[in-house]
């Protein structure tokens, strides 16, 4: 009861049942996909390799994860870009 009142006044964060559900959601995406963390890391390295041909990226802040969208699973990559490499710009100009 006290907890409910506290929540009403915003003194408590999410109810723990809600936290359980959110955590379950994330862990089950990985369980169901059956992909090991090692494979995810390989994917990450390969993406870095490809992207680095065109852009300077911040590798340390790059995040890659699986996420679910109702009934499909998506691979989400968040890659902070520092700058586009000059040679990429020039090669694009050359094609024109």
């Amino acid at each position: 009861m006290l907890k409910a009142v506290m929540r009403l006044f915003g003194h408590d964060d999410k109810p723990s049942g809600r936290i359980a559900k959110d955590r379950l959601r994330v862990v089950l995406i990985h369980d169901r996909a059956n992909i090991s963390p090692e494979v995810i890391n390989h994917i990450k390295d390969d993406i870095i390799k490809v992207i680095s041909n065109y852009m300077d990226i911040n590798q340390h802040e790059m995040e890659i994860s699986l996420s679910d969208d109702e009934n499909s699973v998506a691979l989400l990559a968040n890659i902070p870009v520092k700058r586009i490499k000059p040679q990429v710009m020039s090669s694009r100009n050359m094609h024109r």
Partner: protein
């Protein structure tokens, strides 16, 4: 027509054996001839829950190795005459029985019984694979706890991989006051995540413990909420449409409203 149902969960301690015993008794009370097969070799407990631990002469391992016909190993229940237990061995381990052997035994038994319930061991190894091999459909038992739901999800995946896609869910040991305060996964959460048909919501009930102490499944106890919930599950297995119990504690105000029909 005979139906073979496996009761499974992945995680231990969620109430597979309790569920098996209660559904078995419930189906027998409704006049069905029922056999319960314990496949938790080495860790058998179904005999204890049914109060039959002193009547075991032979076991499942004796049957599958061809030492005796299955009828000789069946133990008839004291109170419910059309309920039988096929116990497993307490001294052997899970490798003593394989899936094909269990399929063969069930096929021999199908002609004689309306329902054959298989109590599955915890885990996803050999014992699980043996237990599900003979089943027409599976009942997955879980609890409103993060680890139990995760394991249930895993088991559903394993069942699908084994082409057992007829799966039903029972959520056991629900603490309604915690659900109400938001501190326990609720039924919507669990249905959302597991997405299989739910045939039972069983409250956490101390009478389950006391009835287990006595070796009398709680379904026979009319006063017990869990007993009523198990009874409804049995009805749903028999094809009846029964709404889920509301086992929140009623306040004085609710009771008054009920009396005054408002």
């Amino acid at each position: 027509m005979s139906e073979v149902i496996v009761i499974t969960s992945g995680k231990g301690g969620v109430g597979k054996t309790t569920t098996t015993a209660n559904i078995g008794v419930g189906l027998a009370i409704r006049g069905n001839k029922v056999a319960l097969i314990d496949t938790d070799t080495g860790l058998r407990n179904l005999d204890l829950l049914l109060g039959l631990e002193n009547r075991i002469m032979y076991d499942l391992v004796d049957v599958v190795t061809g030492r005796i016909p299955y009828k000789k190993a069946l133990v008839r229940h004291k109170k419910h005459e059309n309920l039988f237990l096929l116990p497993t061995s307490q001294i052997r381990d899970k490798s003593s029985v394989n899936g094909q052997q269990l399929v063969d035994v069930c096929n021999q038994m199908r002609g004689e019984f309306d329902y054959i319930l298989i109590d599955c061991p915890a885990g996803i190894e050999q014992g699980f694979k043996t237990a599900i091999a003979a089943a027409d459909y599976a009942i997955v038992v879980t609890m409103p706890e993060i680890s139990a739901v995760r394991d249930a999800d895993k088991i559903i995946g394993e069942l699908n991989r084994a082409d057992k896609d007829h799966i039903k869910l029972i959520v056991n040991r629900i603490r309604s006051h915690m659900v109400e305060s938001g501190d326990m996964l609720n039924m919507d959460d669990i249905n959302d995540i597991l997405a299989i048909e739910c045939i039972g919501q069983v409250p956490d009930d101390e009478m389950v413990v006391t009835s287990t102490n006595r070796g009398e499944p709680v379904i026979s106890n009319k006063k017990s909420l869990a007993g009523q919930a198990y009874n409804n599950i049995v009805g749903r297995i028999c094809g009846e449409q029964i709404p889920f119990l509301d086992f929140r504690k009623k306040s004085l105000f609710d009771k008054l409203k009920q009396i005054l029909h408002v």
